[in-house]
Symmetry: C2
Subunit: 301 residues, 2 copies
């Protein structure tokens, strides 16, 4: 087993805290140092056993591995802060929801140390935030996408991959551009669409009546519009080109559907609805089969 | 308590079956007759105790109340079939998701008996269908919208309202036009948007990869795209003018958001996202308060 001597986590909330807890519970790390802007949060994380000590940017000098799990808008500043302290044996990774912008920021901040930075994105979360929301099994069975750079030595990538695997995650590899295109389609666009619908309705004179009759379908459709506006502002801007492209594709699809509806083309509408229903059912079936296979595997251990 | 002697239900699946079960469990009806296209379904409903007998259009002659809970596309045909059998003391209602088209169909089919038809829409459902999915408490605490006509005598509307109240439902009153505009915004449009997104993604060359990374946000957002394509084709066509208007409003909202994103206007995006988040949180809080009030009331009975 790969055992880390010292890990430094910037941001000790849900994402960074769960990473630290998973590795500590698995006995995979000797010491976790937390760094953050709010002393209170760091002290809370220490009281919860998420971190063993509170550090600063300089703490990375003696670290095997550094995880950036602070809000993504801070990435470049944090990388600039740690750059001068970074020793050759240390790998740095992050947990941001967008990757092309993080790579740009990392290149600017780290210069010729860029080879030590392996961009990552754990696909996990929950509604709550902060150290109290952190769970040792948050990443169990979840995907972590690593978007390694040409400059990354293979053993650096492996070190980060093993840390996430020790958290129970399944490693996927994409380029930063592939990652951003995929998540623009299946995550960033739906968030924008949900925000747009709720704001559209909330702005009307009869908003109260409209919300009064909104039922469970509307509730599920708009659940993601309950997400943090600041976080999604940052993600939208960070992944702007891919998100604009997705929005244009979707708008064209809506125009196509509108034409079918305007022409009272029932067969045309049913075809689109039917294809969507079939695709979604196949997707859900695949998820359920994968979950079952994982459960069977664990049962057989 | 208003007790019905004989109720005839066209369509003995989830909606019609749950209505019958609720009234029977409450002792509010002496006899329920089921009518439908498939003998097998009617026999199953009888075996489940949902109906007491199997009838035909002519059965309405001796009924106090008739509920149409068959697919909405059949409404006009069914009304034509029963028109000649309809006696002055009988009231007819329906459970269709759109109302203006039902009113048109009813006027055409019933002629001068239109006063006996009180259009309705129970806002309740579940994923399953058919008699086996019927539940006596499906309507408990749910809304039923009645869109009464100028021709409806007050006591006819009251009779239908009481039947739904005996099922545990809360009666709301709107005009057919108000109803269709409201549901175009909070139900029909979201369905169309969810179908559009899933079909858009399913049609791509890299659809498999995209679905692979779709997570719980996408799952909830697209849940309603798992709905019946035939049913939603019919609803889309039946509520075409209102749905087209909603689609145009939404497309304009997307264009507005796109302009903010294209201009990298973070403050503008955050404002829209923030308004949406606040509106949704207020809505969810209102739902939870109403649920709590209902629970308290029932606890105090």
């Amino acid at each position: 087993m790969q055992k880390f001597n010292r890990i430094v986590v910037f941001g000790v909330g849900l994402i960074g805290g769960s990473f630290a807890l998973a590795l500590k519970h698995g006995g995979c790390v000797r010491e976790v140092i937390g760094v953050g802007r709010r002393r209170e949060t760091l002290e809370r994380a220490q009281a919860l056993g998420i971190i063993d000590g509170i550090g600063s940017a300089a703490s990375v000098a003696s670290a095997d591995l550094v995880l950036l799990a602070a809000p993504v808008a801070q990435t470049e500043t944090l990388l600039r802060d740690i750059a001068i302290h970074l020793q050759p044996g240390t790998v740095v990774t992050d947990a941001g929801s967008t990757k092309s912008d993080v790579v740009l920021a990392a290149r600017a901040a780290l210069g010729d140390k860029i080879g030590q930075f392996i961009p990552g994105h754990p696909i996990a979360g929950r509604e709550q935030n902060g150290p109290d929301a952190a769970l040792p099994d948050l990443y169990q069975g979840k995907k972590v996408v690593l978007t390694a750079l040409p400059e990354n030595a293979k053993d650096c990538v492996t070190k980060v991959a093993i840390a996430w695997e020790q958290c129970g995650a399944i490693i996927h590899r994409l380029t930063a551009e592939e990652h951003d295109a995929v998540f623009a389609a299946v995550s960033h666009l739906p968030h924008l669409l949900a925000y747009a619908l709720v704001d559209d309705i909330a702005a009307r004179d009869n908003a109260e009546r409209l919300f009064q009759y909104a039922a469970s379908g509307f509730r599920d459709f708009t659940r993601i519009a309950g997400s943090s506006p600041e976080m999604w502002r940052d993600i939208s801007l960070a992944n702007r080109p891919a998100l604009l492209a997705e929005l244009d594709t979707y708008t064209a699809q809506l125009a196509h559907l509108r034409a079918r509806l305007a022409a009272s083309d029932g067969a045309g509408l049913e075809k689109i609805y039917g294809r969507a229903q079939a695709a979604r059912q196949a997707w859900i079936a695949a998820i359920e089969a994968a979950e079952q296979a994982r459960a069977d595997e664990q049962g057989g251990d």
